[in-house]
């Protein structure tokens, strides 16, 4: 049985609760043992975890890290230093633990992720770099965390990107699979909130075309995604999360400042010019009207 330690840094606990949304949680709990989890019954108390050295295979870290932050009166960095060398793998669970996330703006000193301070690589825990896998997201998608843990259990070699995120999940952009794709492709830029139609890339800040994640491939709660309902993607899996002015698209002379991944400005403008020349009646009218 693989033993897991779920350690919380500076966090809102949403990764903990998102994990509880995994549909086959019973199966998971049969295959893994939590020596400590912040909500679920576990073999040890937090007090015991910080004052002893309990055997453990995978260290899961949720929340951002600051040298000032303590859990049960012990510095979070010391707890990491105690358990990290012994475990087989470390998984940073969520954007805070990976990049610092929103709580890097809190009042604590030097708040970062385990290995990254936004895009910048940290030196502090460099010796642990090779055993870490990042599952970014604010919060994490339960299936992505769970399947990664099964990959660790099954000794499956995961290909990782520069931020140590498994490519199987993070090589996609959130834009892949959005039901609003046609409005994007043909540059129908009249999106209004509260409608089935339209793409939020042009005016309403959708960051999906340049955000690495599988939200429109592996749906949330098995039913939906932000962009499908009409909410822009805020880029929560990226080191830059959260950016500012999240509901508007920043543009320079009418061109979005951030273009789809790998698409240069010239390509974008050429394509935009062509699509703009056509009018596609189907995309100009309401989807469900005659």
């Amino acid at each position: 049985m693989i033993k897991l330690l779920w350690l919380s840094g500076i966090t809102c606990n949403a990764n903990t609760h998102s994990f509880l949304n995994y549909p086959f949680i019973e199966q998971f709990l049969n295959d893994f043992e939590f020596i400590y989890h912040p909500v679920l019954d576990s073999s040890y108390t937090l007090q015991e975890i910080v004052s002893n050295e309990i055997e453990c295979d995978v260290l899961l870290i949720e929340g951002s890290i600051s040298p000032e932050f303590q859990r049960a009166d012990v510095s979070i960095e010391d707890i990491i230093r105690k358990y990290a060398p012994k475990v087989q793998k470390i998984v940073t669970v969520g954007t805070c633990a990976t990049f610092g996330g929103i709580f890097s703006q809190s009042d604590y000193k030097d708040v970062t992720g385990l290995h990254f301070d936004k895009e910048q690589k940290n030196q502090k825990f460099e010796n642990l770099f090779d055993k870490t896998i990042s599952i970014s997201g604010c919060p994490i998608h339960p299936e992505i965390l769970v399947n990664t843990l099964y990959a660790i259990k099954g000794d499956i070699a995961l290909r990782l990107d520069n931020f140590l995120r498994p490519k199987e999940f993070y090589a996609y952009t959130v834009h892949n699979g959005c039901v609003r794709n046609e409005y994007f492709e043909y540059k129908v830029d009249a999106h209004q909130f509260g409608e089935l139609e339209g793409c939020m890339f042009y005016d309403h800040g959708c960051q999906a075309p340049f955000t690495h994640a599988s939200c429109n491939k592996i749906l949330w709660n098995e039913v939906n995604s932000k962009t499908r309902v009409g909410l822009p993607c805020f880029g929560c899996t990226e080191p830059t999360f959260p950016k500012a002015n999240l509901f508007t698209t920043k543009k320079n002379m009418g061109v979005p400042e951030n273009l789809p991944l790998g698409v240069g400005k010239r390509v974008y403008l050429t394509l935009a010019g062509i699509t703009k020349a056509f009018k596609i009646p189907r995309l100009e009218k309401k989807l469900l009207d005659d």
């Binding site: 939906n224 309902v229 509901f247």
Partner: protein
């Protein structure tokens, strides 16, 4: 004697002092704060809709609803469709329901010597999360409701799906918590008769009776609630006397020297918030009968939280009947938020009680933001002379284990408290 209380969405330290082998006083200490209010300063108003759900991973949706209502309160006359209002109320209900299930099966059962029932917690709460995701795209941490309405445009097919999620959750409740059909359950008004049913709730309530714990956890018998919608009322209840002249104006926050949490009072007094408070204000028959017999004890508090789950499920079905999909989901505000100068206040009922947000905007930029969370009300720390609600409930007990039980019947949320 200091005891670290774990698994309350974080931890807290209870420092007990004993006199004649009874708890004579207890201080409650939270060891950290993230200072979200500071993070919000200088940010674009709408960004608060993305930041604030991150106050709390278990009740973040209440923070979203409180945020959008505080921002909308900054406008002079903003139009919101009935449809958007109903959808907001529905998704908030779903969060309350899922929180209550998690509390019962994950937090409460172990306190009574039973094993946690993870699947019984996650099955209904996943259904409720799906129900939120139908409108919000995901749960936790959606920002689907914005100034002017909601971003989604649900179709009849979504509503069919939603009805199935709700019905299945009702069925789960009827098969597990109280084994009867919800209609007879909702009509119960005599606690003794009610205890003749079977089910997980009944098991716990019987255990309280058999183990002589009926008198545990009584406090001031003083309740308050600020959130208003088609189900909850803004009012206070002193014992059973309900009075609806309450104004947020008289709510005051103050520092507690030993803790990162802040105390909160209404007209200088501590009040209990949460399901028991709401049931007393709503005069929910069964809870009132329990209160008449057993007062504001753990028995009534536990009963109230579970009853509310069933009531909110039934009420959500009624709300759905009133939903008119032909109305607009979103009405573009007549003034862009970047031109808004002013302040706004909101109150919503979150799982654990009244949640208050206050915002000040200048040209659509946040100048100041204040959040008062439900747990702050129940856990406000007072002095020996003037104890807080949960402090008072623990005094006189003879051991810290029972004190922990009493403490946790308030459904403590550490992350909210240390926002």
């Amino acid at each position: 004697m200091i005891k670290l209380i774990e698994k309350i969405e974080g931890e807290a330290k209870l420092n007990f002092s004993f006199k004649d082998e009874k708890i004579d006083f207890v201080t409650i200490e939270f060891m950290s704060t993230r200072n979200i209010e500071n993070i919000l300063k200088g940010k674009h108003a709408l960004d608060a809709l993305v930041i604030n759900p991150r106050v709390c991973g278990i009740c973040g949706h209440a923070h979203l609803i409180a945020t959008v209502q505080a921002l909308e309160d900054c406008y002079e006359d903003l139009k919101i469709s009935n449809k958007a209002k109903i959808i907001r109320e529905l998704t908030l209900n779903f969060e309350l329901i899922q929180n209550h299930f998690k509390w019962f099966y994950l937090t409460l059962l172990p306190l009574f010597g039973h094993k946690q029932q993870v699947l019984k917690a996650t099955y209904p709460s996943q259904l409720m999360a799906k129900a939120i995701a139908l409108f919000g795209g995901q749960y936790p941490h959606t920002s689907y409701t914005i100034v002017g309405g909601v971003v989604c445009e649900p179709t009849e097919m979504d509503i069919i799906k939603l009805n199935h999620y709700i019905d299945e959750t009702i069925r789960f409740f009827e098969n597990n918590l109280v084994k009867t059909d919800s209609n007879s359950f909702l009509l119960s008004d005599k606690i003794d008769k009610f205890l003749e049913y079977e089910g997980d709730l009944i098991t716990i309530l019987q255990q309280i009776k058999e183990d002589d714990m009926l008198a545990l956890g009584k406090s001031y018998d003083r309740f308050i609630s600020f959130g208003e919608n088609s189900y909850f009322k803004k009012a206070k209840s002193i014992k059973t006397k309900v009075n609806d002249s309450v104004s947020i104006e008289y709510v005051k926050e103050s520092d507690i020297p030993s803790s990162f949490a802040k105390s909160v009072t209404f007209k200088e007094n501590y009040y209990e918030v949460g399901p028991l408070a709401r049931a007393m204000i709503n005069k929910a028959a069964l809870v009132k009968d329990s209160h008449r017999k057993y007062g504001d004890s753990i028995f009534s508090r536990i009963l109230a939280r579970v009853c509310e789950t069933s009531q909110l499920l039934a009420h959500s079905k009624k709300l759905l009947e009133r939903l008119d999909l032909s109305e607009p989901s979103y009405i573009n505000p007549n003034v862009d938020i970047s031109k808004i100068n002013g302040s706004g206040t909101s109150a919503v009922e979150a799982a654990r009680g009244s949640l208050i947000h206050k915002v000040e905007l200048q040209n659509g930029i946040i100048q100041n933001y204040e959040i008062i969370t439900p747990t702050q009300w129940n856990l406000s720390g007072g002095t020996k002379k003037k104890q807080g609600v949960s402090q008072k409930a623990m005094i006189g007990l003879s051991d810290t284990k029972t004190a922990e039980l009493v403490f946790k019947t308030f459904d403590v949320c550490s992350v909210c408290t240390t926002h």
